[in-house]
Amino acid sequence: MLSNEEVRAKVLDIIADIALDDDVTAIKDEVALREQLDLDSMDFLDIVMELKKRHKIEVPQEDYTKLASMKSCVEYLAPKFNS
């Protein structure tokens, strides 16, 4: 069973690899990732693809909006990591 903190760390690992030039240590969980990092829709697709590749987690297209902020990522992904 992964804690929310551990889920957050795994998501952060992925984001760090995609937003290569950004400082990901200062991400505010409540604020949309797009407002803090240099990410566009192509990069969000990469987050989805990396979740599938690294953790076998599927995010259907209609749920992409759930990845908007770190907080919503953890809320949405924690049950998927733990199922």
Partner: protein
């Protein structure tokens, strides 16, 4: 190049990828070849969309981020400056749009407000939205610029560096070209086009993608309206779920195993190019511009000429003249490239008559290129140590593009779809232009049709 980019993206996410390449070198329209000890770039005069590695959010940076190729590996050098040279006026531009804006303020004072408004319109336009409708660009631009001659001058580089249509282009494509050439600008990777190809091939290998050379697709096999396999020259059949084709739209439909009502048209435009290797470098012969868009008529005729080639307009590229540190370029000799719009049918007729005849006509292109170089300010007094001239029939032979087109069909498939499920178009005929556009095309089509499809 679009195929390589697509192949990398798909391999990154565990798709089984096979790239089949007709030739022994990849790159298609942008490739290279060797004659003697010299290596020549084909296609690429300059890389558009110039960015420095810390220029975040620009298209080229974004693309390399998607492919996970560090931008610094390209070792890009910006252009010195380029000229749009018309009979009565010359405009100079650099990679800083402010420079061109000032040129227009000085030379076309009545047009400056319109030009600034046009710039704002372009900056706010989303040219890569796949649902954009086709609108002719000159109609849009004339709302901002009323001086006919300035409209022609602005269109000249954008048309010849990317339009499959004669004399005009779709506004989305105009914006792609405008941003990539005037707002971002020209650069050259160290080593030229082969550096780009090598980096893409290396990345493809790292992510486990496979590539086969001298493997030409001779048939696309369908089953119940869906793609099921490709057949290669030699008869081998490879089964697959999806095909992304960078062959061109008419060329792709031509190898389909069944007739469809969908018959994309072949474009009218092709080119000749003379490459001159000289003992002196252009800088020593009075020219330090990187590219000169030369036009000797009041109007710029970007159309199929009624002669073998149009000697009244040309693009002249001086690869020695990028802004290298202390002007030290990676060529030992001077390299002069002169590109003219040409007529494929007439060249093909010459070739049919005889090889000698064709060669003699190529010599004419070479002679004319020297006059054009003179008109562009190059002093005499150099010796041509080596020359190579390619024609529309050369392009046809090496790229397989019908009519020797470089910018493909006048029908584009903006969302990449075809009447066949699982068969998608990437590259020029998807509609994103230039080297950066072609890579963007490959990535977008791979994302849209294969990766997003598989993740939902």
């Amino acid at each position: 190049m679009s195929g390589l980019a697509a192949g990398i993206r798909l391999s990154m996410y565990n798709q089984k990828v096979l790239i089949v390449e007709k030739h022994t070198i990849t790159g298609g329209l942008n490739s290279y070849y060797a004659r003697g000890k010299r290596k020549f770039d084909v296609g690429l005069h300059a890389l558009t969309n110039f960015v420095s590695p810390n220029d975040r959010g620009k298209p080229f940076n974004k693309l390399m981020k998607q492919l996970r190729i560090p931008l610094a590996d390209f070792k890009l050098t910006p252009q010195n400056y380029s000229l749009i040279q018309f009979p009565d006026q010359t405009l100079k531009f650099t990679n800083e749009i402010e420079f061109l804006t000032e040129e227009i303020r000085e030379k076309f004072p009545s047009q400056i407000d319109g030009f600034i408004n046009l710039l704002n319109h372009i900056k706010n336009f989303n040219e890569t939205d796949l649902t954009n409708e086709t609108v002719m660009a000159k109609d849009v631009v004339r709302n901002f610029i009323t001086d006919k001659s300035l409209v022609e001058m602005i269109f000249c580089p954008l048309l010849i560096y990317g339009s499959a249509w004669e004399n005009d282009m779709d506004f989305s494509q105009f914006v792609i070209m405008f941003k990539s050439i005037f707002l971002e600008g020209f650069g050259r990777p160290e080593g030229g086009v082969r550096t780009i190809i090598d980096l893409l091939l290396k990345r493809l290998g790292e992510v486990g993608g496979e590539i086969r050379f001298k493997a030409e697709v001779t048939r696309l096999i369908t089953k119940e309206g869906k793609i099921s396999a490709v057949e290669l020259n030699g008869g081998e059949i490879i089964e697959c779920d999806n095909v992304l084709s960078s062959m061109g739209l008419p060329e792709t439909m031509n190898v389909l195993d069944r007739e469809t009502a969908y018959t994309p048209r072949t474009g009218a435009l092709s080119f000749t190019e003379s490459i001159l290797i000289t003992d002196k470098k252009p800088r020593d012969l009075g020219v330090d511009a990187t590219i000169i868009f030369y036009n000797n008529r009041p109007e710029y005729l970007y159309q199929k000429p009624q002669t073998l080639f149009d000697s009244e307009s040309a693009v002249v590229c001086f690869p020695n003249n990028f802004k290298y540190d202390s002007f030290k370029d990676d060529y030992e000799e001077g390299v002069l490239r002169v590109t003219n719009i040409a007529n494929y049918d007439l060249w093909n007729q010459e070739l049919m008559i005889s090889k000698e005849n064709y060669k003699a006509k190529k010599e004419m292109v070479f002679q004319q290129s020297q006059s054009i170089l003179r008109a562009c300010g190059l002093q005499d007094g150099y010796t041509v140590g080596f020359k190579d001239i390619f024609t529309p029939t050369t392009i046809k032979r090496y790229t397989g593009h019908f009519g020797g087109t470089v910018y493909g069909s006048i029908d584009k498939s903006r969302n990449g779809t075809t009447p066949v499920q699982g068969l998608y178009i990437c590259g020029t005929d998807q509609g994103f232009l230039g080297i950066v556009g072609s890579m963007l095309s490959g990535i977008s089509m791979a994302n849209l049709h294969v990766l997003q499809g598989s993740s939902s």
